[in-house]
Amino acid sequence: MGATHLPATEFDGTGVDDQLEAEAEAVLGEPPTRMVQLLGPDGTLGEDPVFSAYARRLDADKLRGFYADMAAIRRFDQEATALQRQGQLALWVPLTGQEAAQIGSGRASQPQDYIFPTYREHGVALTRNVDLAELLRQFRGVSNGGWNPKETNFHLYTLVLAAQTPHAVGYAMGIQRDQKLAAANATPGQPQEPKAAVMVYFGDGASSEGDVHESMVFASSYNAPVVFFCQNNHWAISVPSTVQTRVPLADRAKGYGFPGIRVDGNDVIAVHAVTEWALERAREGKSPVLIEAFTYRVGAHTTADDPTKYRGSDEEALWRAKDPLERLEKYLRVEGLADDAFFAKVKADGDELAAYVRKTTHDLETPDIRTAFANTYAEAHPLVAEELAWFEEYSAGFADEAHADEADTDGVANR
């Protein structure tokens, strides 16, 4: 080996000159990543050189709307958790703590935009007018996708983490082609369809999946009109975000050649501003954008999880103090934009929503397995037809037995 053997210091670092190292870092080191924040935890509105302009577009109605949405989805979350505890849902995926990230970004989208969620985006679903009771179908085990995405431009939940990120880029590539085609066929003076973009949600855990990398490469290569919205809620079930990344996730965008921006995910005004900026940028074909919403999953990963096994209550308390609803409530009250009557109405509306969801969940119809036969393929399929025919015959055998039982008991025992 001899000559090819490098000195040990190359590997263990013991020979590194600390002074030189510090000087190198001073030259090479990036400035620490900035986090955009407008509304602080104490409820005071700060200034941002870029995004305050976006925040100023918001009138009192919009701000009250944000609060009402966040309160509604938190109430819904509590109700769904209760329904799971009562055995009405197989599982629930709580979002509490992430309301600002979801409502702020969802409300920044336009109807013509198409949204790909992961599976915790109940708040975004609300902003896209998905019937929240329908959303529970998946968790009640009566559907694997409870709504028609074509009606809301809100795609189905995707459970294989990050698998939806290339779908979003592909959809954006489709929009790109649509827009080129429309521009080529446009008649002067005729109004154009509004430009659209795609927004795709994923988390700090999913950011480690290869599909996120591949999507960002594709998005960058084709300059696809897509916004990557990463909710860094700090925990991928039990594994902290520090295991997923050693740098702020927003910084990864640099490697792909498009802007990455970290925003206080508990500040609905900042999230809205940043997302509006990003979506406008994407719609105009300037570039994809990665947004990292710095937030926290206050509750469990799912109702099957036990956070006390992997994190301290002090950490949870720290984040509860940054609550997205409380800070907006403070702001609205101090600025005189909302009064007790407004907050009482929000609470009443939330209770009404909860009652609706509870009732509708109980009524959600269990599908017939024949619908699964029907929906496996879009076109006729001989094997599906053969197995369905067998199933019908097999089932009919039980129907005969049932009739026979009734006959045996002279119709006394009705099952």
Partner: protein, 326 residues
């Protein structure tokens, strides 16, 4: 009627679908100016441009994943996977997303994505370039899988795959890319239904079912058997999912003996599926057990020994001998 190779027939089929439907687009690695490593997309980039013949980043999951998104937005993507053994980075997208989207959406969404995969061995290549992974996909409900064995089918099946509302994987027999044959570009004729098996040669003593690259081998084996006085029927399966069991069963009811030949390992393969179905449907017609001829239960071996691995005429004849001995 024009004579052309399978590769050229697919090229012409793709050209036809790109011309007929503005929402069709091709995507894959090196399919643009190069025309693909097998030149199957030769000339199409120049003709239809970079938006419709898309050279993608080198990422199979990204190719399939973005194709799904394009399909959701109303386009008809045809993806090229460069080699059979390189489909696996895209396996997750194919099996958990592409195959399930229609069912997941309760029928509201369709994802008419086509995936072209050159497959099979016999080309003296390095690892991952000679595999036959069709059974892994056939096991996944929601996908359709077809494989042409001649230029006429190749020309029509790629277009039929694009027209299908379901996702379709087209396994292309790469060692037969240069096989020539007549193509009727006016009408598909007997090839109108890509999911139907074709009886290529009628016989009375035994049936050999093959598909893709082994179809010429099966025909040659039938010719050799004829010299020994055995009348062998040969079926080109054409569709691996769904399988046209009616055509296969009808043949077995006539001949009483069945050999299924494919390059893929026999264990857990398409041959086993056919054997099981035929034994259910034509048990009393069988004069002998169904015999499978296929690859061994090992990773595809090195090129220098692949001839010992791949089913050939003699392996099919040996199986016929065993079946006829009952």
């Amino acid at each position: 009627m024009t004579t052309m190779t399978i590769a050229k027939a697919i090229n012409e089929g793709l050209r036809a679908t790109l011309s007929n439907n503005p929402r069709t687009l091709l995507m894959g690695e090196d399919i643009g100016p190069l025309g693909g490593v097998y030149r199957v997309t030769d000339g199409l980039f120049g003709e239809f441009g970079a938006d419709r013949v898309v050279d993608t980043p080198l990422a199979e999951s990204g190719i399939i994943g973005t194709a799904i998104g394009l399909a959701l937005s109303g386009y008809l993507p045809v993806c090229e996977i460069q080699f059979d053994g390189f489909v696996f980075p895209g396996f997750n997208q194919i099996t958990t997303q592409l195959a399930k989207m229609h069912a997941r959406s309760n029928g509201n969404l369709t994802v008419p994505v086509v995936i072209r995969i050159p497959y099979g061995g016999g080309i003296g290549s390095i690892e991952h370039h000679s595999e036959s992974p069709e059974a892994l996909f056939a096991h996944t409900a929601g996908l359709r899988i077809i494989t042409p064995s001649n230029p006429h089918d190749a020309y029509w099946m790629i277009q039929q795959a694009v027209d299908c509302q379901d996702p379709v994987i087209v396994f292309e027999p790469k060692r037969r890319y240069w096989l020539k044959g007549d193509v009727d570009t006016e009408t598909p004729g007997a090839s109108a239904d890509p999911f139907k098996a074709h009886v290529l040669r009628e016989g009375t003593d035994a049936t050999v079912v093959a598909y893709g690259p082994l179809v010429p081998v099966a025909l040659a084996a039938a010719n050799a058997a004829a010299e020994d006085g055995h009348s062998v029927e040969v079926i080109d399966l054409r569709s691996i999912s769904p399988i046209d069991f009616d055509t296969v069963t009808d043949s077995v009811k006539k001949t009483g003996r069945l050999i299924v030949a494919h390059e893929a390992p026999t264990f857990g393969g398409i041959g086993g599926e056919i054997a099981a179905r035929v034994s259910e449907r034509a048990f009393l017609s069988l004069e002998a057990p169904v015999i499978r001829v296929g690859g061994f239960h090992m990773p595809y071996p090195v090129a220098k020994v692949e001839e010992d691995y791949l089913p050939d005429i003699d392996r099919i004849l040996e199986a016929l001998d065993r079946a006829l001995a009952y």
